[in-house]
């Protein structure tokens, strides 16, 4: 009888992604309600120690697929490993983070297991002993609550939805699994890094975003200064990207990244539906726009109707003062 929760512990370059600790936190709560253990699966090269460290965050068992084949992500290799871990652990629930890796991996694992998966969930809970997930649809214009017909129930969860698990003193038992894959039809030959040291938008606690009102690429410098003071990531609206003010990889919205920070600050962004789709689950929204009719003000918790070029430098100074207190 399937029981407990298995968490996919995504790692890159020997670092476990932050969302994994969030999954361990909610995973423990689900496991306690449904009955059964909390376990994790980690895939990579020389990741045994890293796997073991997850014990401190509540994982009782960690399934490990280790080897050269797993050094870089591949759909086949990782889906094989996670499927093998599911067969070994027989969990009632599999949790994955909605990341670039999670988006590629989750449906493939679901397909292999012949079960359904819920993508990009913003809530998971237990009702009548079963997992129920809530997720945005129609670009966040409404939500659906879904249930699962097969086992395990697979839910991919949006980063920053739950707090991270607290570090306790536990230790995890390591169990090796065989992915059953020896050659890959599609493999990553290279990882090209950009924006080294920058805070990843999808994981950021705070985001400072600019829109068409930024008027020029060079003006993003003032947002970067502000972001630097409050340790925020910098984002942009589609209008700003399409106007050439910002690169496409920082676009927030329906055709860009979906973000979920504690604080989202929108400067010179009107608040088109497709932008809201990418940031409306932000816990606190601040809008600064010259146009008092801008739709973004209807979504904002705090707003300033004024010229952003006057507001941003003052705000940067004000935050500096506040943080120095």
């Amino acid at each position: 009888m399937a029981s407990g929760v298995l968490v996919f512990a995504e790692q890159r370059d020997g670092k476990v992604r932050k969302v994994v600790y969030e999954l361990l936190n909610i995973g423990k709560q689900i496991a306690d309600k449904m009955g059964g253990p909390l376990s994790a699966v980690i895939v990579g090269k020389n990741v045994g120690e890293l796997g073991k460290s997850l014990g401190k965050f509540g994982a009782q068992k960690v399934y490990v697929a280790d080897g050269d084949l797993f050094q870089l992500y591949s759909t086949e290799g990782y889906a094989g490993a996670v499927t093998a871990a599911v067969k070994a652990a027989d969990p009632a629930v599999l949790l994955v983070g909605t990341t670039a890796m999670g988006k590629d991996l989750t449906p493939r694992v679901a397909a292999r297991l012949g079960v359904g998966a819920a993508s990009d969930c913003t809530k998971v809970e237990v009702e009548a002993g079963k997992l129920v997930a809530t997720r945005p649809v129609y670009s966040g214009k409404c939500y659906v609550k879904v249930e699962f017909a097969g086992t395990p129930a697979i839910a991919a969860i949006r980063p920053n939805t739950y707090p991270v698990a607290a570090e306790a003193g536990g230790s995890a038992e390591l169990v090796n699994v065989d992915a059953g894959v020896s050659a890959l039809k599609a493999k990553v030959t290279q990882v090209v890094k950009s924006g080294e040291g920058k805070i990843e938008l999808t994981e950021a606690e705070k985001i400072v975003s600019g829109g068409r009102g930024m008027k020029d690429k060079a003006n993003f410098k003032i947002l970067e200064d502000l972001a630097g003071v409050i340790k925020a990531a910098v984002g942009a609206s589609r209008a700003a990207v399409d106007s050439g003010y910002a690169p496409v990889d920082i676009q927030v919205g329906q055709t860009g990244k979906v973000v979920n920070p504690s604080l989202y600050m929108a400067f010179g962004i009107s608040g088109a539906i497709q932008h809201l789709a990418g940031m409306r689950t932000s816990k606190v929204i601040v809008a600064v726009n010259k146009d008092p009719e801008a739709p973004i003000f209807q979504k904002a918790d705090y707003g300033i109707v004024d010229d952003l070029f006057k507001v941003v430098p003052l705000m940067t100074e004000e935050f500096k003062k506040l943080l120095a207190e």
Partner: protein
């Protein structure tokens, strides 16, 4: 080179979505239906590949009769012909059932490459391409920002957090297309005229060779219990007409004292 594009017709990005009274669906009247925006990148890429390498482009869609309109848009952009999968038995199909139907088409068409949009912007699940690849035993690459076809393989740049993965895949493969891959063209007037005459073949349950129990709502692995409206956001505090410095001070203070995010 034969490229097959799977597309879905979805509500327009600006459409207002209203939940039906019973909470089991959305009100479909008054919705403007379009090709899911990410699918446009797939269609554009297929047409460009044909322009460069020759061959054939086929567009496939599973959905009710109105889905043919979105297929006509793809044909007007320059795709060669269409296969429209519909049968009353297909109604309510989830990602797995949809992938089974599309896989039946792929097996008959034998394309060298299958392109999809990154996700359909209605259910935003992004699952059908992976299910399709798994059913066909093919490799998949999600969210391509660049596709370079070489002898019997494709080199794909895939955007990840803080950079890109360069993926080398054998063909055929299922590749999903992200924004930035290309700039989709608009359908020209002659293109629209030509599209009207292009073949769109119907593909039914009988054509698929599947059993009615394999598809439709009955076999769904993921079941919608209820549609929920967005939670109301209490009205915010918007400052205007005061000295900029005063307004900034107030908001910064509120972010610490009230919102507690700084």
């Amino acid at each position: 080179m034969k490229v097959l594009v799977c597309l879905k017709q979805t509500p327009d990005t600006e459409a207002t979505i209203k939940i039906t009274g019973d909470g089991k669906g959305i009100e479909e009247q008054n919705i403007k239906w379009v090709m899911s925006p990410y699918d446009e990148f797939a269609v554009e890429e297929a047409i460009r590949l044909k322009e460069k390498k020759g061959g054939e482009t086929v567009v496939v869609s599973m959905g009710p009769d109105r889905a043919v309109e979105a297929m006509r848009t793809a044909l007007a952009m320059g795709m060669d012909r269409g296969v429209h999968c519909w049968d009353p038995a297909f109604a309510g199909s989830d990602a797995l059932a949809t992938a089974k139907i599309l896989a039946a088409v792929v097996k008959k068409e034998n394309p060298d490459l299958i392109l999809c949009g990154r996700q359909a912007i209605d259910f935003d699940q992004a699952q059908v391409p992976a299910f399709l690849a798994e059913l066909l035993g093919l490799p998949q690459v999600y969210m391509a920002a660049k596709i370079d076809l070489q002898d019997g393989k494709a080199v794909v740049n895939r955007r990840i957090e803080g950079g890109e993965e360069i993926v080398e895949t054998s063909l055929p493969a299922v590749i999903t297309c992200d924004k930035g891959l290309n700039e989709p063209r608009y359908a020209s007037l002659p293109g629209i005229m030509k599209a009207k005459k292009k073949e769109v073949k119907k593909f039914t349950l009988a054509d698929s060779g599947l059993a009615a129990s394999d598809v439709g709502a009955g076999g769904a692995k993921l079941k919608v219990i209820q549609y929920l409206p967005l939670p109301e956001r209490p009205p915010g505090k918007v400052f205007k007409g005061e000295e900029t410095a005063d307004m900034v001070k107030k908001v910064v203070r509120l972010l610490r004292d009230e919102a507690k995010v700084i």
